[in-house]
């Protein structure tokens, strides 16, 4: 696996720093009107979606379980972050990190509890329980007046912009790829390939599975917090199973068990949808509707021709930890 390349400028640290600088620059240009706000919006959405999709990849890709309730954790994160921002009158510099951390933490705790209960079941039953949990969360929020009920929460103070999102995305990605490369990552792969073999070599399967689930939920919560702070309004409807479906489509398009694939999937899908909208709209405005017809066809076509997604189980080398430093003791 270890390909000892020479010193190349294309490694994770440089890319991460470059990403953040470009994002901050673009955000600054956008705020003074020199950068198209539509593009700014798309870039921000891509950043948030990368966190969502990459974190779900831990469970669905690396662990090989089929979880369907990611939007539920996103909802927990979004609402907790929004409440912190709305009710605790903190100064801006404190408010953003505290609300994001609060949202992520709350989602993580809920994720841990759900995981404790659900990992008694496997396969399609796990799918149904996580999906049911998603529906319960959305349904509960709809019935709580304090959270705005079905109308949602509005006038959330502006918390995030592209620079914040870029920072969070890079940090999340860094944590996720290190986890995947750690001994836990190996255990997840082992459980995915053969859970019984894993048990026999002494892996505490439920605990290790639940770790992946909790981490995924935490990052979904972070993404939810970013979303709430960016959109400044949230409704329970934004987090129902349609959202989960969206996340799944990007995940499987990019490829299972591949974090770089998650980036590629999000970027490809988002750009594709926007391109289709613009191109079809250019030909004739009423054709823009056809986008909704073409995009699932493209998805099916990709699945039929590349059934593991664009990057299934492969990574861009430069996004993975440098083997020369960890190779000695790690493997």
């Amino acid at each position: 696996m270890a390909e000892h390349q020479g010193k190349t400028p294309l490694n994770f640290r440089n890319v991460a720093i470059a990403t953040f600088i470009v994002a901050a620059l673009v955000q600054f240009l956008g705020s003074v009107g020199l950068f198209n706000n539509y593009y700014l919006h798309i870039l921000t959405v891509i950043g948030i979606n990368i966190i969502l999709v990459a974190s779900l990849n831990l469970v669905n890709g690396y662990l090989g379980e089929f979880a369907l309730g990611h939007a539920g954790f996103m909802a927990v994160g979004a609402y907790v972050a929004a409440l912190i921002a709305l009710k605790l009158h903190l100064p801006v510099l404190l408010r953003i990190p505290v609300s994001l951390a609060g949202g992520a933490l709350a989602a993580g705790v809920i994720g841990y509890l759900v995981g404790r209960v659900t990992f008694k079941t496997v396969g399609d039953y796990l799918a149904i329980i996580t999906l049911g949990f998603n529906m319960i969360i959305v349904n509960a929020i709809q019935n709580i007046d304090y959270l705005g009920g079905p109308r949602g929460l509005t006038a959330i103070p502006k918390g995030t912009d592209l620079a914040t999102v870029a920072l969070c995305t890079v940090l999340s990605y860094w944590i996720l790829r290190n986890l995947v490369d750690s001994v836990y990552g190996r255990m997840w792969l082992c459980i995915r390939e053969n859970a019984i073999a894993g048990e026999l070599i002494g892996i505490d399967v439920n605990r290790v599975k639940n770790l992946a689930f909790t981490v995924a939920a935490t990052f979904a919560g972070l993404a939810g917090g970013l979303y709430a702070g960016y959109q400044q309004f949230i409704t329970p409807k934004s987090f129902d199973y349609l959202k989960t479906t969206d996340i799944l489509v990007m995940l499987y398009l990019g490829g299972m068990g591949s974090l770089s694939g998650s980036i590629l999937g999000v970027v490809a899908y988002t750009l594709l949808m926007e391109l289709l909208r613009n191109i079809l709209g250019l030909i004739a405005p009423q054709l823009a509707d056809l986008r909704m017809l073409l995009s699932p066809l493209i998805l099916v076509f990709i699945m039929l021709t590349r059934q593991y997604g664009l990057m299934g189980n492969r990574e861009w080398r430069w996004l993975m930890p440098d083997r020369k430093q960890t190779g000695g003791e790690g493997a």
Binding site: N60, F66, V117, K120, T121, G123, D124, Y125, A127, I128, I129, L131, G132, F133, M135, I136, V138, N139, A140, Q142, N143, I196, Y241, L242, T245, L248, V249, Y252, L253, M256, D289, L290, M292, L293, S295, P296, L297, L299, V300, M303, L304, Q307, Y308, G309
Partner: protein, 294 residues
Amino acid sequence: MLATAIQQLLNAAQLGAVYALIALGYTMVYGTIRLINFAHGDIFMLGGFIGFLLVAIIPGLPVAAMIPLAMLLTAMIGVLIERVAYRKLRNAQRMSLVITALGVGIFLENLVRILVGPQARQIPAQLPNKVLRLANGVVITEDKLLVILISLSLMVILWIFVNKTLLGTAMRAVADNRDAVQLMGVNLNLIIATTFAVGSALAAAGGIFFGQAYSIDPYMGIDLGWKAFIAAVIGGIGSIEGAVIGSFLLAGVEVLTVAYLSSNLKNGIAFGLLIILLLIRPNGIMGRAALKKV
């Protein structure tokens, strides 16, 4: 008090019958090719719209002809979908099949939305709907009764088909061990196509009944599809009896929640209870535990 309870049970039976007609398709497809066919809810929607269009295009079409015709057309579409989108992936990893099914579902929703528009419609009254008064002041309309009776007879026919005919035996054999069945010279493609045809036809009947009782719109398949899928899982996915039991159970819980608590809590309570049930019986009511292969 008793009268309202019976009334609610009848409502639950009607809703449960529709759920069961969809859930049977889920469970049969899952049984044969281990695919959670996320497009199945949209096939149900398509069936409802085909019925709606048939009535609109042929004005005097009797309901006794409309339902079988719509079932036939929908069955053909179901087989076509399997042929085009699923067959090539039959031996692929399961998740790419699932995602293909999701794509097919989104495609069908948007196709119908573009063709007939997003608004909700009702299939014009077809079934006789005279009000019948039973003892104790229980009231039931004829169409409600007919929906329950037709659905139940369809389920009985399906049960006989699966358990007593050669084709049905082959279907069960495929569900049990696909590779061995192929070695016995059974035409696997034919069996799987039959599964999709039967499942889609049943879903179409469900769509028409649902469109008569409530209304149809291009996105209704998402919600009802998930519900029916859940009903199938509750019953033990892969089991035909289980799908029927799970459907009536889910409908019962939902109707009772709406009647005695709040319609807002419907989804939450239904799913909550069903999750608890799954934790007690992890393989569903009629499901068998999968053997661990070492």
